[in-house]
C-alpha cells in the first residue's frame, strides 16, 4: 500500500500534454500533409534524409519541419517506418516482384 501511494505521488507534476487529443490531432494533420507532399512529388529525386531510411525531395522540406515540430520524435520515426512499409507493399503489388527491392 505504501508503495502504491509513493508511486502515485511521484511524477505528480508532469503531464505529457503532447500525447493528448489536441496535440495528437495537430500531429496527424501535419503528418498527412507531409506524406501527401511526398506522394505528389514522388517523381522528384529524394535528396533529404527523413529518418529510418526514408528520403524525401527538397520540395517537402518545410512540411517536414512542421511535421517534426508537431509530433514526438518517436512518433515521427514510427510514422516514417509505417510509410516505408506501406510503400514497399504497394510497390510489390504494382510491380509483381519485378524490381529487386
Amino acid at each position: 500500500m505504501a508503495a502504491l501511494e509513493a508511486y502515485a505521488s511521484r511524477n505528480a507534476d508532469e503531464v505529457h500534454t503532447d500525447v493528448l487529443l489536441k496535440a495528437r490531432q495537430a500531429c496527424y494533420k501535419s503528418r498527412d500533409a507531409f506524406y501527401d507532399c511526398l506522394e505528389k512529388e514522388s517523381n522528384k529525386k529524394p535528396t533529404e534524409i527523413a529518418s529510418v531510411g526514408l528520403l524525401y525531395p527538397a520540395e517537402c522540406k518545410a512540411l517536414r519541419a512542421q511535421f517534426v515540430n508537431h509530433c514526438r520524435a518517436s512518433w515521427v520515426k514510427h510514422f516514417d517506418r509505417l510509410y516505408c512499409k506501406n510503400k514497399r507493399v504497394t510497390r510489390l503489388l504494382d510491380d509483381g516482384g519485378e524490381t529487386r527491392r
Binding site: 508511486y7 500525447v19 496527424y28 518517436s74 512518433w75 520515426k77
Partner: protein
Amino acid sequence: MATAIVRSAKNLRNLHQRFYFHTLLTKCRPPIPSPTIADNIQHRALPLIQQAIPFGIGFQSFAADQRFSSTSTTTGTVQSGHSKPNSEGGDKSGDSNQSKSDTGKPIRGGPISWLSFLLLALTGAGIIWYYDKEKEQHIEEINSASQAVKQGPSVGKAAIGGPFKLINHDGKNVTEKDFLGKWTVIYFGFTHCPDICPDELQKLAAAVDKIKENSGIDIVPAFISVDPERDTVEQVREYVKEFHPKLIGLTGSPDEIRNVARAYRVYYMKTAEEDSDYLVDHSIVMYLMSPKMEFVKFFGKNNDVNSLADGIIKEIKQYKR
C-alpha cells in the same frame, strides 16, 4: 466331356465346314465342342437351327475369346451356361443379335440386357440421390451446430484474467472486485501511443455508446497502461477523459502491471530508443469480461465499431441464456 472332344476332333477332320473352324481354333487350346452346342440347340427347337448356326459362328468366336483368357475347365461351363439362355431368348432377338453376333458379343439372354441396364441406372441414380441428401443433412447439422448456443462450462474457458491491484485514474486503489456486477471491456495500451491506442479507444467508446443505444446494456470500458513508468495517474486521467466519461484508466507499479499483463496474456515490450521517448510494443486486444470478471471473448484490431458492438451484444445475450 472328354469323349465328346475326341468325337469332335474326329468329326472336324472329316467335315469341311468344321475344318474352317478348326483352323481358327487350333491356334489356341483344345477345339470347341461345337457339335455339343449344335446338339443342345437341336434338342430345344428346330426352327432355331437356321438362326443357331450363324449365331453359332459368332458364339464360337466369342468362345474363342473366352478361351484366350480362361482355363479349359471353365470354358466348358461357360459354353453350357451360355447355350441355355441364348437359346431361350434367341427367338425374339435373333435378327438384331445376328449383327451383334458378328462382332462376337452374346447380348441376347446374357447377363446384360436393356432391363438390367435400366435397373442399374435407376440404382445408380438412387444411390447418388440418397448420398446427396445425406451430405446435405450432414452439412446442415454442422452449420447449425456451429451457430448454436454453446454452453460455457461444458465447452471450457480460456484461462485469461485474474486478480489485480491497480490504481485508477482518480488515484484510488482498485482490484478486480471493483468491476464485478457489470460487463467490462479491457484494453491494454499506453498513453504515448502514436496512432493505434487512440483509434482503438475511440472505437471502444463508440461501441459502448452504440451498445447502450441498441440494447440498453451498460458496459464499463477500462484502459490498463502497459507503460507504468510514464503513465502516471494524472497522465492517465487526462488521457481517458477525452475518450469517454465512463472510461476507467488503470495504472500501477511496474510489478503489478507485469502481473496483470501476465494474467491477461498480454505481450508488451519497451522499444528502448532513448530514455524518455520510446514506444511500447504490445498486443492490440480488447477483452470482454463477464460481470463475474471471467473472460468471455476477445476482440482484435480488425473489428470495426459495428462488428465490435454487435459481437459484444451477441456474447452478452448468449451468456444470459
